[in-house]
Symmetry: C2
């Protein structure tokens, strides 16, 4: 078996740095493919392919406006990632330090 598909889940989809950039770019505002191509330094086909992956896994939504394809990040799709990583928060050193600080404040 090889590596799992990028469209199998959000974790695989965001493994690509460029896809993370795209998600960051489309988080605040809807953008056309051309805007993304201009913002990142990628060829149009590459951007379209990445958007396809993100669309398949549900991390972006698409809308057609005339000749323009408008994309937007579906932030809810990233809750899975956030929740998973949050499980480890209590083991962070910073967290322990915070707990320690809190405990010292109690004295």
């Amino acid at each position: 078996m090889a590596r799992a598909s990028t469209t199998s889940d959000p974790f695989n989809a965001i493994a690509e740095p460029r896809r993370r950039h795209i998600l960051e770019l489309l988080a605040a505002e809807e953008r056309s493919v051309g805007d993304i191509v201009a913002a990142l330094e990628l060829n149009q086909p590459s951007v379209s392919k990445h958007l396809r992956v993100l669309l398949d896994v549900g991390l972006v939504s698409a809308r057609r406006e005339g000749r323009h394809a408008m994309y937007r990040t579906n932030a809810d799709g990233l809750r899975t990632v956030h929740d998973w990583s949050a499980m480890f928060a209590k083991y962070w050193r910073g967290q322990l330090r915070r707990i320690k600080t809190h405990a010292e404040g109690q004295q």
Copy 2:
């Protein structure tokens, strides 16, 4: 170009479901390879390879104890993932609902 290396960053490393399982398993307590093999249903070589990837990217630490190799999750390495995904929190529908609820409480 193909997909980036699994050891290039935490995002690529956690793209594998089995590696996420391993990280969950080793988050609370240090464990030997044999324990992990028993806990997950994987062959020993597969587990060792996944641990190698996690070690290279810094998501686990290893220690030698006699014939046993003890591994433990380095939770700090997941802060990158957590922080990144947290950027999208303000766009969550649940978050908006919470803001709305909060606003209603203000009235």
